[in-house]
Amino acid sequence: MLEATPKEITERQALRINPAKTCQPIGAMYAALGIHNCLPHSHGSQGCCSYHRSHLTRHYKEPVMAATSSFTEGSAVFGGGANLRQAFTTMYKLYNPDVIAINTTCLSETIGDDLPSLIDESRESGLIPDGKVVIHANTPSYVGTHVTGWSNMTKAMVTYLAEKDSPKNQINLIPGYVEPSDTRHLKRVLKELGVESVVFPDTSDVVDTPQTGEFHMYPKGGTTVEALKTTGDSIKTLALGPVASKAAAEELKNKCDVDYDLLDLPIGIAATDRFIQAVMEATGVEPTEGLMDDRGRLVDIMTDWQQYLYNKRVAVSGDPDQVVPLTEFLVSCGAKPVYVITGTPSRYFETRCKEILKDWVPEAIVKADADMFYLHQLIKNGPVDLLISNVYGKYIARAEDIPLVRFGWPVLDRVGHSYFPSVGYRGSMHLLCTILNTILDRKDRDDPDETFELVL
């Protein structure tokens, strides 16, 4: 497995090998799915839309509906205006969405299609029926990564829809580029605390729908346009995951003067504490007994089982917003994240991870804009006890015979990520149990008969 990968690390200027990122439009499509009754639309060649739908489907095992402008060579030369106009006609006649969320691609961006003008013209000429919402995000594939695309589409929701009317006793929660299970759990926590909120985008009940024998093109989930409009009236915005969520929070501040707190994703004890504190400060609520019990149970697992994580060398790869709090969580459990990488260029990532690791793992290598090939080479030069990464890590894990915990996006070969959260106290319990059980499975596999234990 991956036998062509040499141990010796040489600096590469131009060649990306085994990326730890993908392009903007897929993130935009995923975010758009988190609007109720929305049809994401990919303005470019039909291959982009096909790849993005396929990839999201492989991750969620759910229908992922999206349309495309189906560019041909002619559109590449003359621009995609005619394609978009035809697309509006087709989509409204056939699929009748309340919202169309358009993302651009590297092709339409390189051509220079002016989406706001194209949308305005289509509205004026009646191609977009009255009452129908069309939003767009510029998501050139040659800038940023899939996380940037999510961020841009989420920001577009604010740009197009947020309004300032009369103040409402609610907060906005931007959950970050997370699983539907995570968003569902955060909504439950807020409900338990008695906090009114607009959570956007919200992909729960969109990409985790029940099997009922009926197909619904627009599932019941997703943030409604009405709710999105009220985000300008909220007390505060809590933006989780600075790389994914800052842009939308800042847009709300600029457009409707709603203050925001920029927080890490609530993965692990400390990050969840900060999240709960932020909710308390924004709304004045106090944590419920149930929530405190969950917190206590998480800490209980950490103390009960710390012998198996303490000083364990861990390699971590994933999206920056996930990896930062995960690294912090691992440190809080006594583990040593020795290699911490992300494919997304991000100064926040490097600064925060180095800060987290400086005392406990001063030798740690932290790198943004890195790839899985580099991570593999690091591991070849200094072995680890555990790899935590998205699905692509399984090849490294097999090559180097390392236990693997699948975490982050995408996970194409296992079930559970869309149903069981890894945020909040309860989600962190689930994540920690997965990590511990993976290590213990490995211990059981490796222990000779005479030290193979019944009780651990």
């Binding site: 990306r16 990326p19 392009c23 509906m65 041909t72 060579e73 590449a76 035809q86 590297c106």
Partner: protein
């Protein structure tokens, strides 16, 4: 066409199975003509008028005319939720990517290389002392600066870095959409780096906007193979034996290995494979094989015909999917070589393999017989898999290709009737001449006989294999799928990943015919048995019964 009795089944077991198969294939649709016609009207009416008019030409109810026509390989109207992908997917993703010992560098922003990374399940085994890059993704990862100032320099550096790190025998370069627009000369870069490094570096201009589907990319890939690799081994002069190339077989789930197992058992040598489990060195010797076996007509017919013109290597259309289809194809190959010793061996192998497969399939067929299937896939698979479903007693009532052309539906006799439109005109057609040294066809009288018997150079397409009242839907849209499910309520739908969970939310099992749902092989005799088990689990699996709670019925 002269009747060639050599192609007929020999054992009783096979005769019975073949007859049962043909009965299913050619029987009338159980749906009924009235329902079918009404459904087509309902489908077309829902579109904007002009779009509906166009779509109407891609939807054909099968009548008794074997020469029925259908529109295909036309643009998808923007806004339609389509199965189709792009030229890049067809070139790098489908046809070139499966070569496992070549470093495939995608020149463009990161996404295209990422999405085409291991997702097609083209299995590959490294040759002895050979290299293996099948699980790697290589990209120039272009950023905004590169798009503004050009990416050729970065591409050349990337090729150099790939060479320095891996020392591969060959490197391929694939351009994505923006590269075509900014005008990077990838052909020049490849040529220059090929000379500098002393290895084959081949560039494919397969920008995603070219053509109307993956199909354009297949053609571009074929052209690149043909110009650069076929015949590149100038040292080997002859490969003895019954030699073949396996063309248009992509080794999804190990299909090619099961096909090879049977070919080798018959004493037939596979020289090269295009391109599942494909290897560079083998590809350079492909011109020395005596015949090309064409599986996926759509994606590889260009190479087959170009090799015939240049090297005199004839091609035989085969279908290794299905017990009956495989046996028929093996007899075509034996007919081509026309050697009693080989024919005898082939018949002995078929007698053994068919009997074993039939015995193993029988219990599953009992449960599956009479069930109905939709098939929306590929450029050949929607045809090939009908034969395998027929082996299970399952009737395909609606079928269509995602990206095929009229000749894949109507047969190659449609070729002169196809008008070349603006979207196809931009794909290079290579002028091929017989090679002054290497053109080495079988004698003309032999060729003549093989042509008359329909053994070589012949593909009849999907239409003649479908019974009256069945429905053909080219390039199906989501809306059409939706209506067809509601009206026809099939027992199983064969399609791709994007459709799979849509179909299953309707409570209807779906089988992925691109990726095989991570199973396989489904080709060949062992494959047919695997397929029977797989379809049985999907159709007969107990979980479907729990969709409604007990209090809901």
């Amino acid at each position: 066409m002269t009747e060639n009795t050599n192609l007929s089944p020999k054992t009783d077991i096979e005769k019975q199975a073949a007859e049962a198969n043909q009965q299913v294939m050619l029987s009338e649709s159980p749906v009924g003509l009235e329902t079918t016609t009404e459904t087509v009207e309902e489908i077309v009416k829902a579109y904007p008028r002009k779009v509906g008019k166009k779509r109407g030409k891609h939807i054909v109810v099968r009548n008794d005319d074997p020469q029925q026509e259908i529109d295909a390989n036309a643009r998808t109207t923007p806004g339609i939720i389509t199965q189709r992908g792009c030229a890049f997917a067809g070139c790098k993703g489908v046809v070139v990517g499966p070569f496992g010992d070549i470093v495939h560098i995608v020149h463009g922003p990161i996404g295209c290389s990422y999405y085409a990374w291991m997702t097609r399940r083209n299995q590959f085994k490294a040759r002895e002392e050979g290299q293996d890059f099948i699980n790697y993704s290589f990209s120039t990862d272009l950023n905004e600066h590169d798009i503004v100032f050009g990416g050729v320099g970065k591409l050349k550096t990337a090729i150099q870095e790939a060479y320095d790190t891996f020392k591969p025998k060959a490197i391929s370069v694939h351009s994505t959409c923006p590269v075509g627009l900014i005008g990077d000369d990838i052909q020049g870069a490849a040529k220059e780096m090929s000379e500098t490094l002393g290895i084959s570096v081949v560039a494919f201009n397969c920008e995603g906007y070219k053509g109307v589907s993956q199909s354009a990319g297949h053609h571009i890939a074929n052209n690149g193979f043909f110009k650069n690799w076929i015949g590149a081994d100038t040292e080997t002069e002859e490969i003895p034996g019954y030699t073949v190339n396996l063309m248009g077989e992509y080794n999804i789930g190990g299909d090619a290995w099961e096909i090879e197992r049977v070919l080798e058992k018959c004493g037939i040598t596979v020289v090269s494979k295009f391109s599942g489990d494909g290897s560079y060195d083998e590809a350079t010797r492909a011109h020395l094989a005596k015949v090309n076996l064409v599986m996926c007509h759509r994606s590889i017919n260009y190479m087959a015909t170009m090799m015939e013109t240049k090297y005199g290597v004839p091609w035989v259309k085969v279908n290794f999917i299905g017990v009956h289809a495989f046996a028929k194809s093996m007899r075509k190959i034996a007919s081509f070589f026309d050697d009693p010793a080989l024919t005898e061996r082939v018949e002995a192998v078929l007698a053994e393999e068919v009997a074993e497969a039939e015995a193993k399939i029988a219990p599953y067929r009992e449960r599956l017989e009479g069930k109905t299937v939709f098939l929306f896939v590929g450029g050949s698979r929607a045809h090939h898999y009908q034969e395998l479903f027929a082996d299970l007693g399952m009737k395909t009532v609606v079928a269509g290709y995602e990206f095929a052309h009229r000749d894949d539906y109507e047969g190659r006799q449609a070729l002169p009737k196809i008008k070349v439109d603006a979207d196809s005109r931009n794909i290079e057609e290579i002028d091929v001449e017989p090679d002054s040294k290497l053109y080495n066809p079988p004698p003309e009288d032999v060729l003549q006989k093989l042509r008359e018997e329909g053994v070589i150079g012949e593909y009849g397409g999907m239409i003649p294999d479908m019974g009256e009242g069945t429905l053909l839907v080219d390039n199906i849209s989501h809306h059409e799928l939706d209506v067809l499910i509601e009206r026809f309520k099939p027992d199983l739908i064969g399609s791709g990943i994007k459709d799979k969970y849509i179909i299953e939310k309707f409570g209807i099992p779906s089988k992925q015919i691109h990726s095989y749902d991570y199973g396989g092989p489904f080709a060949g005799f062992k494959g047919a048995v695997n397929f029977a088990k797989d379809i049985d689990l999907r159709v007969s699996g107990p979980a479907w019964k729990y969709i409604k709670a007990p209090w809901q019925n």
